[in-house]
C-alpha cells in the first residue's frame, strides 16, 4: 500500500492507516474467537435461529399479510370463529384473522422491547461508566439514585407513570426504560472499577489521557461485551413488561401488540367462550421470543464473562 516515494506526511497517514488495519484485524480475530465460543453453545445457536426467524417474520409481515387485514371495516370473518382453512388461527370478535394480528403484533412488541432496551442501556451505561470512573460525590449520588430505582416495584411504578403520562407508544417505551436501567448501571459500574484498576489505565493517565479519552478508548471497549450480554437479557423483560402493561389495558389500544391482543381477548370474554385460538397465539409468541432472547443472552454472557465460561 505505501509507496516508496512517500512524503513524511504520507508516511504518517499510512502508519495511521496501518494502525487502523491492525486494530481491525485484532477486532476481527477477537470476534472470530467469540463467535467460536458462542457457536459451541447449542442453546445459544437455537436461540439465534429462533430469533432470526422471528425478526424475518416481523419485518416481512407487510409482504406476507396485507395491512388491510387489520382493518375492522373490511374484516370478512365471523365473530370469534375457531380455526379453519381460511383463518388458520381463527378470528377475533370483529372477524379479523388472529394469525394476521399476531404477525403484525410481533412488529410492535419487538420494536417497543428493543427501543426500550436501547434507551435503558444507554442511560445505564452512561451513568455506570461515569459513576465508576469519576467516583466521588457524583458517583455516590448516581449510585444511590440507581439503588432507589432498583428497589422500586417496577410494575407499580410503570402503572403509575402511565396513568400520569397518558397512553402511547412513546410513553410506554419511556416508562419501561425508566424502570429497567438501574441493573445495567450496577453491572457496568462494577466492570468499570475492575478495568480502572488495571495498570494500562494508570499508564494512560500517566501519559496525560483525559477522562473522556480514558472512558471512551479504554473503559467502554472493555465494558461493551458485558453490556451486550445484559442488553440481550433486558429485551425479554422489556417485552414482558410491555405485554403486561398492554394486557392490563395500559397500552395504546389503537395499535396491535401481543399484549393488546391478549387484553382484547380477555375483555371480550374469550376466557368464558373458551376461545383458545384467541389467547394462545399471542401468548405463545411472547413465550418464544422471550425464550429466544434468554437463550442468546445466556450464551453471550457465557462468552464474555470468563467466570461463567469456566463453569461450563
Amino acid at each position: 500500500m505505501t509507496s516508496t516515494t512517500a512524503s513524511p506526511r504520507a508516511l504518517h497517514l499510512s502508519s495511521k492507516r496501518a494502525r487502523r488495519k491492525l486494530a481491525r484485524a485484532r477486532r476481527r480475530r477477537s470476534f472470530a474467537r467469540s463467535w467460536t465460543a458462542y457457536r459451541s453453545q447449542r442453546t445459544g445457536m437455537v436461540g439465534l435461529v429462533l430469533l432470526g426467524a422471528i425478526v424475518v417474520l416481523a419485518i416481512g409481515a407487510p409482504i406476507l399479510i396485507d395491512e388491510s387485514q387489520l382493518s375492522v371495516t373490511q374484516a370478512t370473518g365471523g365473530r370469534m370463529e375457531p380455526p379453519s382453512a381460511a383463518y388458520p388461527l381463527g378470528t377475533d370478535e370483529t372477524g379479523r384473522s388472529i394469525l394476521a394480528l399476531t404477525l403484525w403484533g410481533s412488529r410492535l412488541s419487538l420494536l417497543i422491547g428493543l427501543t426500550a432496551t436501547v434507551v435503558a442501556i444507554l442511560i445505564g451505561t452512561a451513568i455506570g461508566v461515569t459513576s465508576g470512573h469519576i467516583g466521588g460525590w457524583y458517583g455516590w449520588i448516581a449510585l444511590r439514585i440507581s439503588d432507589w430505582f432498583m428497589v422500586l416495584p417496577s410494575l407499580v411504578v410503570a402503572i403509575a407513570l402511565l396513568a400520569v403520562l397518558g397512553r402511547s407508544m412513546a410513553t410506554t417505551i419511556t416508562v419501561i426504560a425508566l424502570v429497567s436501567w438501574s441493573g445495567t448501571t450496577r453491572l457496568v459500574r462494577a466492570q468499570t472499577l475492575t478495568v480502572q484498576a488495571r495498570p494500562y489505565l494508570e499508564r494512560a493517565r500517566a501519559l496525560g489521557a483525559g477522562h473522556w479519552h480514558q472512558m471512551t478508548k479504554h473503559i467502554l471497549p472493555n465494558v461493551l461485551p458485558l453490556v451486550l450480554a445484559s442488553a440481550t437479557l433486558l429485551v425479554p423483560s422489556a417485552i414482558l413488561m410491555e405485554s403486561s402493561l398492554a394486557w392490563l389495558g395500559l397500552g395504546d389500544p389503537s395499535v396491535v401488540s401481543w399484549g393488546s391482543i391478549l387484553n382484547r381477548a380477555s375483555d371480550n370474554g374469550a376466557v368464558s367462550a373458551h376461545a383458545w385460538w384467541y389467547l394462545l397465539p399471542p401468548g405463545l409468541a411472547i413465550l418464544i421470543v422471550v425464550l429466544a432472547f434468554m437463550m442468546c443472552g445466556r450464551a453471550l454472557e457465557a462468552v464474555f464473562n470468563p467466570r461463567l465460561r469456566g463453569e461450563r
Binding site: 382493518s71 375492522v72 371495516t73 365473530r79 370469534m80 370478535e93 370483529t94 372477524g95 396513568a163 397518558g166 397512553r167 402511547s168 389495558g249 395504546d252 389500544p253 389503537s254 387484553n263 382484547r264 380477555s266 375483555d267 371480550n268 370474554g269 374469550a270 376466557v271 368464558s272 367462550a273 373458551h274 376461545a275
Partner: protein
C-alpha cells in the same frame, strides 16, 4: 435423619391431614343443610357502595338496595314504565297542577312493626324542603316544592311552585320512617341510617361487608305479600369472567347489570350452552354517543375550549354522521345485542322514542364526500381536507374511555370510515375522569359519551337546554351535555314539562329529539341491550320490565324481578344422602387411623432396631 424416619413423618402428616379432611366431610353436609332452610337469591356485583342514605346515593347498586328497602308513593310499572300505585293507592292533581293529594295505603307497616302513615310521607318530603343538604342534593326537584302536609293518617298533600306532573309521579322519593329518622342527629350524613335498615319495601339491607356481600332480608309483613325468597345477597366478584364461572358452577343465581360493563356476547354465548342457565338479551335504557365539539360557550356567550372550527359547520357534522354505519356497529361490536340509535331516548321507551320517520341519515360515504366537496373542504396533497380557502387541515382529536373495549372497537370502525372522508383522526384512550375534565373544558374535538335514560325523559332532555350552560369557563359546571342552546328546543322543553296529557307530551318530546338529530351536536350511535343470565334451576317467575322483552337487572322504580322471584320447584338431585357422607367419612377416618398406627409401630420397631 435416616430415610425411614422421613417416610414415617410424611406418612403421619398425610394421615393427620386425611383425618381432619374426614372430620370436615362430616361437617360440610350439615352446614349445607342448614343453609338450605333459607332461600337466598344470589346476585353477582362488583359495584362499590357509596352510601345507603336514599337521599344522597348516586350509584346503581345503592339505587337497587334503596328501591328494595324503602318505597315510593308511586311505583313505576313493569309493563311499560307507567305510574302504578305504590304506598299511595290513588292520587289527584288539582286544576292548576300545583296541589297533589295522595291517599296512603292503610295497613302497611315498617319492617320493625310500626305502622306507616301519611306522617312519614310528610316527614320525608319535608326533609327535601327543609334539610339544607338534602335539599341541595336534590335541587332540581326540591326547589319546586312548597309544602308537604299530612292532614290525617291516610292523606298526604304536596304543594308545588310550578306544575310538574311527570316529576311528581316519576321522581323516586323513598319514604323513610319518621320514628327512626327523627332520632338521627344528621339525616343528610352518609352514614345517617345504620344497618339494619328500617324500611317498608320487600327486602331490607341488614348486613354489608365491603367487597364481600350485601345482605337484604325479606319483609314477611310486606303489604303486597311476602317475597318468594327469604333473602337477597349481592355477592362481590372482581371479574365478570369469575361471575360467569360462578353462575356456571351454581354459586350465584343472577349475573347481569350488577357487574359494571355487563356481560359481553362471548360470555352470553358460553352461558347459553349451560343446561341450567337462561340468558336474557333485553332491550336496554342506555345510549352510546359521540359528542362533537361544535363550540363550547357560557351563558353570556363567552366561547371557551379549543374545538376544531370545522365542527361548528353543521355540514361537516352531518357528513360525519352520514359516514357512520350504525347497523354495522351493532352487528359487530354488540353482536346484534342493540339497536342503531336515532336520538336521545332509547326505543325501549316507546312512547317517548323518536324513530325518525323517513328522515334518517343513511350510511353513504360517497354522499358524505360530496357534501364536504360542495362545502369547499378541498383535499390537500396528502388526501386530508382543509378548511375552505385552504388553511387548517381537518385533523380531529378523538377521545375514548380507556377502560372500555367496545369503545376502542367503535373507534377503529369510525376512524376508518372518516379516513375515507379525508379526515385525519387522532384517537386517544383516556381515563374516564380526565376525559370528563377535558370534555367540560371544551378541550376536545370528538369524545365518547353514554347515559342510562330513565322513564321520565325530562332529565336527559334538560341537559341540552340553554338554562344549563355553564356560567364559568373552568369546566366545573357539568349540567350541559354539549353546550347545545336552541330557543326553539327550550320552548318545547318548557311545554313538555307541564303537559299532563302523555300523548301531547310525547309529540313535544319527539320534536325535541328531531331538533337534536338534525343539528347533530351529538351523534347517537346505538342503544345497548342489557345482557343477563340466571340459573333457572334455582330461581323462577321473575317479572321483567317492560313486560315484552324486558330486563331483570337494572329495573326502574321498583324491583319487580327480585320481588316476584321465587325458588324453583325442581328437585335437588345433586347432593348424596347423608349416610353416604357419613360412610365415606368413617372409611377415611378408619384408613387414616390405620395409617397412623402403622407409622407408630414402624417407629417403635425402628427405635428397637436402632
Amino acid at each position: 435423619m435416616n430415610p425411614h424416619a422421613l417416610t414415617r413423618r410424611c406418612l403421619s402428616a398425610a394421615a393427620a391431614l386425611t383425618l381432619s379432611a374426614g372430620a370436615l366431610a362430616v361437617a360440610a353436609p350439615g352446614a349445607a343443610a342448614q343453609e338450605n332452610d333459607v332461600d337466598t337469591l344470589m346476585i353477582a356485583t362488583n359495584q362499590e357502595v357509596d352510601t345507603f342514605n336514599p337521599f344522597k346515593r348516586r350509584f346503581t347498586i345503592t339505587y337497587e338496595t334503596s328501591m328494595m328497602t324503602y318505597e315510593t308513593l308511586v311505583r313505576i310499572g313493569a309493563d311499560g314504565y307507567e305510574p302504578v300505585p305504590g304506598l299511595a293507592t290513588e292520587w289527584t292533581e288539582s286544576e292548576d297542577g300545583l296541589t297533589w293529594t295522595f291517599t296512603i295505603r292503610e295497613g302497611s307497616t315498617w319492617s320493625d312493626g310500626e305502622p306507616l302513615t301519611a306522617q312519614d310521607a310528610a316527614y320525608t318530603y319535608n326533609l327535601l324542603i327543609e334539610n339544607q343538604a338534602i335539599h341541595d342534593w336534590n335541587i332540581d326537584f326540591a326547589a319546586n316544592l312548597v309544602s308537604a302536609e299530612a292532614p290525617d293518617d291516610t292523606t298526604f298533600v304536596l304543594t308545588l311552585a310550578e306544575p310538574a306532573p311527570a316529576e311528581v309521579l316519576y321522581r323516586e322519593v323513598y319514604i323513610v320512617p319518621e320514628h327512626v329518622w327523627s332520632t338521627y342527629p344528621d339525616p343528610s350524613a352518609d352514614d345517617a341510617n345504620r344497618l339494619p335498615l328500617v324500611g317498608s319495601g320487600p327486602f331490607q339491607v341488614t348486613e354489608y361487608e365491603t367487597d364481600e356481600f350485601i345482605r337484604l332480608e325479606a319483609n314477611e309483613d310486606y303489604w303486597d305479600g311476602a317475597p318468594g325468597f327469604d333473602e337477597v345477597v349481592y355477592d362481590y366478584y372482581v371479574e365478570t369472567d369469575a361471575a360467569v364461572a360462578a353462575l356456571e358452577a351454581g354459586e350465584v343465581d343472577i349475573v347481569g347489570s350488577g357487574m359494571q360493563g355487563g356481560l359481553n356476547p362471548a360470555q352470553i354465548g358460553a352461558l347459553e350452552s349451560q343446561g341450567h342457565v337462561t340468558t336474557n338479551d333485553a332491550q336496554g335504557r342506555r345510549y352510546v354517543s359521540l359528542t362533537l365539539n361544535h363550540g363550547t360557550v357560557t351563558q353570556d356567550g363567552t366561547e371557551f375550549g379549543d374545538g376544531h372550527p370545522a365542527l361548528k359547520d353543521p355540514v361537516v357534522r352531518t357528513a360525519m354522521h352520514t359516514a357512520i354505519d350504525k347497523q354495522a356497529l351493532v352487528d359487530t361490536v354488540l353482536d346484534g345485542s342493540g339497536t342503531p340509535a336515532t336520538s336521545l331516548i332509547p326505543s325501549i321507551f316507546e312512547q317517548w322514542h323518536w324513530d325518525g320517520g323517513g328522515e334518517l341519515v343513511e350510511f353513504d360515504i360517497d354522499a358524505a364526500n360530496r357534501m364536504l366537496d360542495d362545502a369547499g373542504y378541498a383535499r390537500g396533497d396528502d388526501g386530508i381536507r382543509t378548511m375552505p380557502g385552504g388553511g387548517e387541515p381537518l385533523r380531529f382529536r378523538f377521545y375514548h374511555h380507556a377502560d372500555n373495549t367496545a369503545y376502542a372497537t367503535v373507534v377503529e370502525f369510525v376512524t376508518e370510515w372518516w379516513a375515507e372522508l379525508g379526515l385525519d383522526i387522532e384517537a386517544e384512550a383516556i381515563e374516564q375522569g380526565t376525559l370528563n375534565d377535558l370534555a367540560y373544558l371544551g378541550e376536545f374535538d370528538i369524545a365518547f359519551s353514554g347515559w342510562g335514560v330513565g322513564p321520565n325523559p325530562t332529565e336527559q332532555l334538560g341537559m341540552h337546554t340553554c338554562a344549563v350552560l355553564p356560567t364559568l369557563t373552568d369546566g366545573s359546571e357539568r349540567s350541559s351535555e354539549n353546550s347545545y342552546c336552541n330557543p326553539e328546543y327550550d320552548a318545547l322543553h318548557e311545554q313538555q314539562k307541564v303537559e299532563s296529557d302523555p300523548a301531547a307530551r310525547a309529540e313535544l318530546v319527539k320534536r325535541q329529539q328531531q331538533l337534536l338529530y338534525e343539528d347533530a351536536p351529538v351523534i347517537w350511535l346505538y342503544y345497548q341491550n342489557v345482557l343477563e343470565a340466571y340459573n333457572h334451576d334455582t330461581v323462577t317467575d321473575m317479572r321483567t320490565q317492560p313486560a315484552e322483552g324486558g330486563m331483570i337487572t337494572g329495573q326502574q322504580g321498583f324491583t319487580w324481578s327480585y320481588y316476584t322471584a321465587r325458588p324453583s320447584n325442581t328437585e335437588e338431585d345433586g347432593g348424596a344422602p347423608v349416610w353416604v357422607w357419613v360412610a365415606v367419612a368413617a372409611a377415611v377416618v378408619v384408613a387414616a387411623a390405620g395409617a397412623i398406627v402403622f407409622a407408630m409401630r414402624r417407629k417403635q420397631t425402628a427405635d428397637e432396631r436402632e
